[in-house]
């Protein structure tokens, strides 16, 4: 367990740090690369929790395909690094205060709720956890229990595609 905890906290720290990096990096490239790091560490978190399929998909789809696309766009548009802010407006300050407030609230909630334990029908063994995270199990659930959602999600994607094409390509007027 100790090793698992160490891995978890290490990956979590990297994830948070890289997320902060996305925000504060002045260069879009650094920002994007930080995001890749963030996605990778989250994928690592999935893996430590035996959700192997999702972990792999995370790397393939997000860290791989999507981020490459993002980087290409950045490079093609040849975006400059943002200038350093001369002064900080009240907006970001307020946002920061609110963010801290929200964080404090959530932390408080978590701390009060540490004691809860879920009544599991049977103790989850490592083997079961591995089985649960496999592509096989996921596929079975996805095509039975969540078959309808899968179809609706397909409609969602179709609508998004159609909409994007229409907004970008249709000749208006």
């Amino acid at each position: 367990m100790a090793l698992a905890s160490v891995t978890f906290f290490a990956l979590a720290l990297i994830a948070i740090a890289s997320a902060v990096g996305v925000l504060i990096a002045r260069s879009p490239i650094y920002s994007a690369l930080s995001l890749v790091l963030n996605l990778l560490s989250v994928a690592g978190l999935y893996l430590t929790m035996n959700a192997s399929f999702i972990g792999v998909i995370q790397i393939l789809v997000y860290a791989g395909a999507i981020m490459v696309l993002v980087l290409f766009v950045i490079m093609l548009l040849n975006l400059d690094a943002l200038p350093s802010p001369r002064s900080i407006g009240w907006g970001p300050i307020l946002g920061f205060v609110l963010g801290i407030g929200l964080l404090a609230q959530l932390l408080y909630v978590m701390l009060t709720s540490f004691g809860i334990s879920l009544e599991a029908a049977e103790p989850v063994t490592t083997a079961m956890a591995v089985e649960n995270g496999s592509a096989n199990t996921l596929g079975q659930i996805l095509f039975t229990e969540y078959a309808l959602h899968l179809q609706v999600a397909a409609i969602l994607l179709l609508a998004a595609t159609v909409g994007a094409v229409m907004l970008a390509q249709r000749r208006f007027a």
Partner: protein, 498 residues
């Protein structure tokens, strides 16, 4: 897992999603038709047909007992049928009023109707969801379609901006919703709403309530409750008017329906009542105060729809079955009057030199020039105020009365004060329609000769039907109220027998 059994079960459940099937299939057909023939004139008819057919089906399901389908993912029976009828009816109305309007703006694409149909699929899933997964998938399907609709008028000032704002803020709020869902799932270990309330034998952890709060935030955004309402005026103003009508009614109806399901089934106690009451207060205040000074009718109606979300939150805050059924009834009334009001607006908006004109002054004297539309608009405005004998009055009664019973008298008094205040901006529309003429308004606001679209009888008839329906709802409402009440008595029985 025995897959063959699963497929038999799904096959048997197909009738439960008849409407989704019809509407979704129609959407696919529409896309194909559009691909073969640009702006195929049959598309609106096909769309209307699909909505009508689905409505017919749902009408027969109104009296059926509550049940679930697709591995308890969706609810069926009376409640679902009622919500679906609302959503499909809004879709049908929108399909009927849209063609002349969109044609005038040169946006009468088949894709618009396909998106309308796809959005409806999402709404049906959302409004009848029995698990948080269904809530999320339905909500997102609906939202994506609405984002695109909001940005349809690309060249128009505010058009693409409205779509973009809606999209970014929507994604932001979805983050909160997802976090809430995760917390609710994490603390209960189940996605099924009816199982959640009983998942805490020894006390409800605060973490669960935090999840509920975040889910309320997500829904608050969708139904434009303050302070999550900021996108509403911009988006409503920028979107094509008939689609604004659809957004402001169908999406709210299904989001409220899902929220009611969550509040009713998943919450073990009335802890959320204070939140809902405060949201109701802020929302009523923001909506009504901001609507006072709007010169743009669409913006005014946007704030009005915010205010009405506030009224509905009053009913939800009461936390009783009477409150929920009152909210359901109000949803019906609200849908009819808002659809109608936006419909009238769509037919009276003119295409001047400087683009669409939506200012209040541009409606001067229209009440007499277009008597049916004018009279209908007057009915909608009176009903929105909550003036007897129109549906709005009865609707307000049925959402305020349970709140009084639940001890929220202070909130109801404030709500009534705001309703009285709303008379100012609603009556101003009637005043301009009937008491002013084009000569009374500034040159720039005047409608040019022939600026209006040719009278579209089908659209006009649909608007007039809404007005008549409001009158009927205002007089012979008890049947509908009985239905909404019965839905909850049934749901109650359902919740007690797991």
């Amino acid at each position: 897992m025995d897959l063959s059994g699963a497929f038999t079960a799904m096959w048997a459940d197909l009738p439960a999603i008849f409407s989704m099937l019809i509407v979704g299939a129609a959407g696919l057909v529409v896309i194909l038709m559009e691909a073969f023939q640009n702006r195929d004139p049959r598309i609106p008819w096909l769309t209307a047909g699909a909505f009508g057919l689905a409505m017919g089906w749902e009408a027969f399901q109104l009296g059926t007992a509550p049940d679930t389908a697709f591995f308890e993912q969706l609810r069926t029976g009376g409640y679902a049928a009622y919500i679906n009828l609302l959503i499909l009816g809004a879709g049908l109305f929108t399909t009927l009023v849209s063609p002349p309007y969109l044609r005038r703006l040169n946006r009468n694409f088949g894709e618009v109707y396909a998106l309308l149909l796809f959005a409806t699929v999402g709404m049906i899933m959302l409004g009848t969801s029995n698990t948080l997964i269904s809530v999320f998938v339905g909500l997102e399907t609906m939202s994506v379609c609405l984002y695109i609709m909001a940005g349809l008028l690309r060249e128009d000032e505010g058009g693409i901006e409205s779509g973009f704002k809606y999209f970014v803020l929507g994604a932001f709020s979805t983050g909160f919703l997802l976090y809430g869902i995760a917390l609710m799932y994490g603390t209960t270990g189940t996605m099924h709403l009816p199982e959640m309330a009983g998942a805490f034998p020894d006390g409800v952890p605060l973490l669960f309530w935090a999840g509920v709060g975040l889910v309320i935030v997500g829904f608050g955004f969708k139904v434009s409750a303050a302070p999550f309402h900021m996108w509403t005026p911009d988006v409503y103003q920028g979107a094509p008017t008939t689609l604004t009508g659809y957004m402001s009614t169908a999406s709210k109806a299904s989001a409220f329906a899902a929220l009611i399901l969550i509040l009713f089934f998943a919450l073990p106690s009335a802890q959320a009542s204070l939140v809902l009451a405060v949201l109701a207060l802020i929302t009523m205040a923001v909506g009504n105060v901001m609507a006072l000074r709007q010169a743009n009718v669409k913006r005014m109606l946007a704030y009005s729809s915010i205010a009405h979300a506030g009224y509905m939150f009053v009913a939800l805050a009461s936390g009783t079955t009477a409150g929920y059924s009152g909210a359901l009834f109000y949803l019906l009334v609200y849908t009819v009057m808002n659809l109608g009001a936006f419909g009238v607006l769509a037919l009276l908006e003119w295409d001047g030199m400087a683009g669409r004109k939506q200012t209040l002054s541009s409606l001067a004297g229209m009440g007499l020039e277009r008597p049916v539309l004018g009279a209908s608009m007057a009915v909608f405005m009176f009903s929105l105020i909550g003036f007897p004998p129109f549906g709005g009055f009865i609707g307000k009664y049925y959402i305020f009365a349970p709140a009084v019973s639940a001890g929220l008298t202070w909130l109801v008094i404030i709500g009534l004060l705001f309703s009285a205040m709303s008379g100012y901006y609603y009556l101003r529309v009637i005043y301009v329609l009937y008491m002013q003429t084009a000569a009374d308004v500034a040159e720039a606001d005047r409608a040019p000769e022939g600026g209006f679209a040719q009278p579209a009888w089908l659209s006009t008839a649909a608007v007039a039907l809404c007005a008549v329906l409001l009158l009927v709802l205002g007089v012979a409402f008890s049947g509908v109220v009985d239905v909404t009440e019965m839905l909850f008595i049934q749901a109650d029985a359902m919740a007690q027998t797991p």
